[in-house]
Amino acid sequence: MSDWPLSNALPRSTRSEPIETSLKLRVDGEHHELTVDTRTTILDALRDRLGNTAAKKGCDHGQCGACTVLLDGRRALTCLALAVAHDGATIVTAAGLAERDELHPMQQAFLDHDGLQCGYCTPGQICSAVAMLEEFAAGHPSAVTGGDGPMELTREEIRERLSGNLCRCGAYDGIVAAVRQVTGL
């Protein structure tokens, strides 16, 4: 096509040697020091380097929520987070929510209400739900409450606030019931 200036060709790098970096992570209460390729996501560092397989790799593109953990106290997707950018971070996975042999109330509620079928999305769902209740308690609005509305944790509100966690088995009704149990509804 003649009207494309030649200078518009997209810059493209051709670097080929891997670059490694050292970093520290605190995962489920344990300190770790590791050396990783800069391309490593937190998800891959957790699963492949630290042997913590609580966070799951679903889509690996930020669309499903299966890799959700609490990252420095907030729920976040580990598949889109480069480990190198989170040196010094504190991470809590679903495996770190339980106190010794006692399940976290959210974990127990998922069991009580069949909030799962195959279970693959469950660790992400549970981390997300735990953080969601903290956000709600802190007064964070949602698209349902809008910028300025009454704050009541209705079923619609729970569904909106957990919309970043997909469940292909369709256990959503059980998940909503589990969250309501934890909140005393």
Binding site: G146, G147, G164
Partner: protein, 335 residues
């Protein structure tokens, strides 16, 4: 993904200098779009300059009453900020309509502005795309166009800009504060984004190495009476088919001021100046709203798959304006 070096920026100036000195370097903030693009092969930086820890994560009131939102503020924090909720409710609503809670917790205001189109052909390396490979052609034209633009398109690209936040910012005449090698400059948000024309690979007017450090909103009272409505294929966690950010001021049943911007319809957030001109001085009525929408959309260029956006924008705009009018004046008496 090709290997890359990583550098954590200590201040904005050195961040700009570092990226400017490396032709294949790019800024990293939340990474929610960039890391995905690196995985897909859409972006291949050899150096990431991480600006996410720079102290730009605040909302401030400036001396002249404008509100400044720092570029590294997380989308969730901006949406929840009391000042944003009170003065620019449509902006809070727009932020909350975007992505998921997990992504909003990480994604920054600056990164939100610079996210790239979700055109399926752009993201698919096996199809021709002028935005990805200038001169290759556009697979969307004549293809699946449900998500594509109807205003300001070119024969080379019909992609839409995906940000919800930017639509609200466009309605409120926000400025983007940019730091480059020659110092700081302000770019009106409505001028930040380019229309595709013959060079759709360039989303914005920013040069390589320029860093967004913040967004400034003017003190406009009408913004307090604003909202954002997003229409999409599922109830949550999806990009807009169309969206409307609007603010309305009404006195004695007449519209005295209006701000309207549309999302999901163009290569940039579409400030609907024609709608605004058609609303000012006219009574709050469905007839007024429909006429205004019709005037704005008179030059829409549709494809088979996105022709529905003309009535969808019209109906969404009417619904939003009606809601804003009712909030201020109450619904009309039942007939």
């Amino acid at each position: 993904m090709i290997p890359f070096d990583y550098h954590r920026a200590l201040d904005t100036r050195s961040a700009v200098e570092t990226v400017a000195a490396h032709p294949h370097a790019t800024f990293l903030a939340g990474g929610t779009n960039l890391v995905d693009h690196m995985k897909l092969g859409l972006a291949s930086p050899d150096l990431l300059v991480d600006v996410s820890r720079l102290p730009l994560d605040r909302v401030e009131i400036l001396q002249d009453g404008r509100v400044r939102i720092g570029a590294t503020m997380r989308n969730s924090d901006a949406a929840a900020h009391p000042l944003i909720r009170a003065r620019y409710p449509a902006l809070s609503c727009a932020l909350l309509a975007g992505a998921s809670a997990q992504i909003r917790n990480v994604a920054t205001v600056g990164g939100n502005l610079l996210q790239r189109t979700r055109c399926g052909y752009f993201q698919d390396l096996t199809t021709p795309c002028n935005k990805r490979s200038p001169g290759a052609g556009c697979a969307a034209i004549g293809g699946y166009t449900r998500d594509h633009a109807i205003l300001g398109t070119s024969p080379h690209c019909i992609a839409t800009h995906p940000s919800d936040m930017a639509v609200a910012l466009a309605a409120f005449d926000a400025d983007v504060v940019v730091l480059g090698g020659h110092g700081e400059r302000r770019v009106a948000l409505t001028h930040l984004y380019r229309l595709p024309g013959t060079s759709p690979h360039r989303d914005t007017v920013l040069e390589h190495g320029e860093l967004i450090t913040g967004v400034e909103l003017p003190a406009i009272p009408v913004a307090r009476h604003s909202t954002y409505r997003k229409v999409r294929d599922r109830a949550s966690y999806a990009f807009a088919l169309v969206s409307v950010a609007a603010a309305l001021a009404i006195e004695d049943g007449l519209i005295t001021d209006a701000r309207v911007a549309l999302g999901g319809v163009a290569h940039r957030p579409w400030r609907a100046y024609t709608v605004e001109a058609e609303l000012r001085g006219h009574p709050t009525s469905e007839k007024t709203y429909r006429r205004a929408a019709g005037a704005e959309l008179s030059e829409a260029l549709v494809h088979t798959g996105n022709a529905f956006k003309v009535p969808l924008v019209t109906n969404t705009l009417v619904a939003v304006l009606r809601e804003l009018a009712w909030r201020q004046s109450g619904p009309p008496p039942a007939s």
